[in-house]
């Protein structure tokens, strides 16, 4: 069991805002003091550049930066640290893949498979790539419960994946529906059909909330963001199998990613430097290590259990208080969804619902959550979305219900 009261003490934001009900961790998470301090410590005590200086503070900066690489590699069970690339965020990681991998291996008639529930960051890069290369983008649909429509024992994969499929790119957890996709099983079957298939996973909503093991999943690439897992903004991770990364063309060119530069040609550095051009977000990377340490101390399994409990409680409370007047999307079952619930409330526009709730400092999101194709598929233009993390408890959900009741009072 997570002691939320104890955890909230680690997040200074609650000192000044005791009534803060933050239900938007899907957008970004709050930050514990430890992470802020670690980041500040770099700026205050050893803000030198990395990989360049020979003097003490540069060596210290390099050491802390590379330490994070190891921390991340261990956290996701990568084969080696060299497979961990620091980017700006999940979006940049996925764009890097579309650019450096996609443009290298995708040609006319090749197929890329994705899903209707993807965040724009794992949809648009492929849409554009397919346009440019005249390849084909296949989109896996959802069923009426918000699960990927893959049939019994995922047998639809047999007709979706073929030897023509070069890339399967899929989210681990939907940022709208909360649906947890069975990545291991999907990858296993898809690679049985096509052993050369490359599987990319957008894990932005998964890594912060559950234990991830890329070796167990047998996937080829994983992308996630630091700021959604108690870490700073401006740092993201791309993990990839060494063989793939070594064959890929670099993404950004410049300092730090070279071996030798002559007038007429340049040779590139080994992994991971090849994909880390320019001065990286050093403070942010160092802060990310602290975030991971914090999460591991709380325990990823405990975090998952905590969110399951809150999701269950929230679903029950919403249904009990509002019945058929609240339209819930997604599996509506905490065993199959992350701590994310999207809904429409009566026939109020999500913006208006969020606005009234904001008056009570209840923070939830309104809109299409960077998933317009999904919303088109759901038949609505916008939804409200709540999400849970380690600093939320049942009291937050009770307040959510109270504030939603106010919406009816004020806007009817």
């Amino acid at each position: 069991m997570i002691n939320v009261q104890k955890i909230k003490k680690d997040f200074l934001i609650f000192e000044k805002q005791k009534d803060l009900v933050y239900l938007d961790s899907t957008a970004t998470s709050l930050k514990p003091k430890l992470v802020i301090d670690k980041l500040t410590e770099y700026y205050r005590d050893y803000s030198a550049n990395i990989h360049r200086g020979i003097y003490p503070i540069s060596e210290k900066a390099t050491e802390e930066y590379e330490k994070t690489r190891k921390v991340v590699a261990d956290f996701i069970n990568a084969f080696s640290e060299a497979e961990v690339i620091f980017t700006k965020n999940t979006t940049e990681s996925l764009n890097l893949l579309a650019y450096s991998l996609g443009r290298q291996i995708i040609g006319k008639g090749d197929e890329i498979v994705t899903t209707i529930m993807e965040h724009h960051s794992n949809f648009i890069p492929w849409q554009i790539l397919v346009e440019e290369t005249r390849a084909v983008l296949k989109i896996i649909d959802i069923d009426e419960n918000g699960f990927l429509d893959l049939g019994v024992n995922l047998n639809y994969l047999n007709s979706i994946i073929s030897k023509k499929t070069k890339i399967l790119t899929i989210t681990a957890v939907s940022n709208v529906l909360g649906t947890i996709n069975p990545i291991k099983e999907i990858t296993q079957l898809a690679k049985k059909i096509n052993p050369r298939l490359i599987v990319i996973v957008d894990a932005a909503q998964a890594v912060p909330h559950q234990k991830i093991d890329v070796q167990d999943w047998d996937i080829d690439f994983l992308a996630f963001s630091g700021h959604k897992m108690l870490g700073p903004t401006g740092v993201g991770v791309l993990w990839g199998k060494k063989d793939h990364l070594e064959k890929m063309y670099p993404f950004l060119f410049g300092g730090g990613m070279i071996e030798k530069v002559e007038l007429k040609k340049t040779t590139f550095a080994q992994l991971p430097a090849k994909f880390e051009a320019g001065t990286p977000p050093i403070a942010e990377v160092i802060g990310l290590a602290e975030a991971i340490r914090y999460l591991e101390k709380v325990g990823l399994e405990k975090i998952r259990d905590h969110e399951k409990e809150l999701t269950n409680f929230c679903l029950k409370s919403l249904k009990a208080n509002f019945g058929s007047k609240i339209k819930l999307f997604g599996p509506q079952d905490e065993n199959y969804q992350g701590g994310i619930i999207a809904f429409n409330f009566f026939d109020f526009h999500p913006h208006d619902v969020a606005q009234v709730l904001a008056q009570d400092n209840v923070c939830l999101r309104a809109g299409h959550h960077c998933a317009m194709p999904l919303h088109q598929r759901l038949g609505c233009l916008a939804t409200n979305r709540v999400s849970f993390y380690i600093y939320n408890d049942k009291k937050d959900i009770d307040q959510l219900i109270l504030s939603l009741k106010k919406v009816i009072k004020i806007l009817s």
Partner: protein, 122 residues
């Protein structure tokens, strides 16, 4: 951000003025905010470069509907020349509320739509 839903706004939302299509109109203008799903259809009756009548139907949030009702109430009887001068500050003052950047888009939907009249030839 407090009390965005003041009486003025709620009144114009629950009892929107000039709601409904005009039986006879000079032209019809469409506008939408795909970002959040607000959409609006505005009928205008124009004579001698003056807006004689207006009607609208809309789908979307309270702010966008109330804004349309309040603005079109003001617009009827004004010259097209006066419309040209209207900017976002005018709308903010008309609605008498503090709008965040996100909600500002909702409030400006009707203005953005009506200003399309200047794209129409003659």
């Amino acid at each position: 951000m407090n009390d965005l839903y003041k009486e003025l706004i709620l009144d114009h939302y629950q009892n929107p003025r000039h709601y409904g299509r005009l039986k006879k109109s000079t032209l019809t203008l469409f506008g939408d905010n795909p970002f959040c799903g607000d959409s609006i259809v505005v009928d205008l009756k124009i004579k001698n470069k003056k807006i004689m009548d207006a009607g609208f139907i809309s789908q979307g949030c309270i702010i966008s509907k109330a804004s349309a009702s309040i603005f079109l109430s003001w617009l009827i009887g004004k010259d097209l020349e006066e419309l040209k001068k209207i900017d976002k500050n005018f709308i903010i003052n008309l609605l008498k509320i503090d709008l965040t950047p996100t909600r500002l888009k909702c409030a400006l939907l009707v203005l953005m739509t009506v200003k399309k009249v200047f794209n129409v030839k003659s």
